[in-house]
Symmetry: C2
Amino acid sequence: MISRISRRLPQGAGVLLGPGDDAAVVAAPDGRVVVSTDLLVEGNHFRRDWSTPYDVGRKAAAQNLADVAAMGARPTSLVVGLSMPADLPVDWVDGLADGLREECALVGASVVGGDLARADLVVIGVTALGDLAGSPPVTRSGARPGQVVAVAGRLGYSAAGLALLGSGGKAPESGPLAAAVEGHRRPRPPYAQGPEAARLGAVAMLDVSDGLLQDLGHIAGASGVRVILDPDAFEVAEPVLAAAEELGADPLDWVLGGGEDHALVAVFPSAVRLPPEWRIVGRIETGEGVLVTGRDEGPRGWDHFQ
Amino acid sequence: MISRISRRLPQGAGVLLGPGDDAAVVAAPDGRVVVSTDLLVEGNHFRRDWSTPYDVGRKAAAQNLADVAAMGARPTSLVVGLSMPADLPVDWVDGLADGLREECALVGASVVGGDLARADLVVIGVTALGDLAGSPPVTRSGARPGQVVAVAGRLGYSAAGLALLGSGGKAPESGPLAAAVEGHRRPRPPYAQGPEAARLGAVAMLDVSDGLLQDLGHIAGASGVRVILDPDAFEVAEPVLAAAEELGADPLDWVLGGGEDHALVAVFPSAVRLPPEWRIVGRIETGEGVLVTGRDEGPRGWDHFQ
């Protein structure tokens, strides 16, 4: 099984020793390595009847690669642990490997190792490594009053798609509703904007895993500041609007509260000139917490432990 | 919960950014990083009624740190994903963190990050990083005819202890039988001997995870050689002998076939002068497979997928 999977996982130039030994060896040219890990549990983070194994592989890789990008680093490699029931079809594992590989290919990273175990449910443990190329890591604690908050990437797609899948109807196959469902199954983090934000002088950054408001709360807390968001500054995407209309929901709830799109949100000095991938959506003030102008109480992000 | 755990996990000098951000940043002074991952599943790799959470933490760290040492590297850090049922007592997680921390402390490594998820069973995903300090990694493929096979660390303890626990009696509390059970709960890999073997010129190495015969089969296969073991060369430890007597078993079955002690087995040029931590137990010949002198058919190591 391990050699079957390994054949689906080509190794890039930065991989000095790939799968098949006790450990892999990966180039860390910067002399530091960025490392992040996530566990995806069937029934909690994905459903096998709602997502193909390929989708799960794409998403499992994406959420870890986005964590590395959110430090301002370039992802170099993944290692993956997979627990699975005895009756899991082998082509499910093939599909997972294909999804991991193709998401990694977007950033030039490789799946360099893994582990297989038996369990009654599918659990996927992914660890991503990355290289900072000489830059300091962009943490959560550097935001200061007077600076601006900007977002790159999608917001609201994943929550809208999940709501559509959960509404009990048949999954839409085309049009904006299908795009929302696709956004849930395969997030599209703006990986290149992580190192780009570092280059542009970002002083704080993270990827939106649990919802913009909840995640910005981490920057507010770590930096000791208040984040003010302007709801009119967001451009709500057509798939999110269409899903909101279909389900009678407020699209801004998904944009501000929905997780798992893995957009990047960063804080920049106010004089920054941002490329078109970034949209300024708020500012930093003295105080604490996250405030949305004109909304008394913001929705909360999705918390795995709620 | 995450901050509660983080407080139990001090960060060493090589940790440039510890837990609490999207990713950690760890020194990789060699310009390369060694990485290995394992998944431990409750009921398969450990039982909560047979091991304390502290033991599970020690073992989860040990098996990954040993993989790094088996490349000839010094472990620097761990990241850990933990899925757990809603009713898992919080002090179980405390104990796990304490065990991870103390096993890491043996090699100067730190637990630099993690992830928590909910699931119906406890699954622990551990990824270890390490530094080669300028040496080439010691892989499985460098063994050549005429060289010698040597072992450092314990063999047979874990299998003997598991057999005692599985025999249905009360777990022994002292004496050699208790030492065998302790060996199952807390393996003691000879970490320092990994880089030491590299320094001594080891041409192939791995840690014994699945049983010496099975794991040496990987070296035989990857190197295209035959491994010949001399059963009389092994010194069977008192706890293993005592457990074999207690259960009417052949202690050599555990020494040759038992996994999870995470001893290091390495192949050296025949002229090597080995320190007392290493014991020569066999040699490399042309051919294939692993042969034990005087035994027609060796026992098989423990395979998670059998």
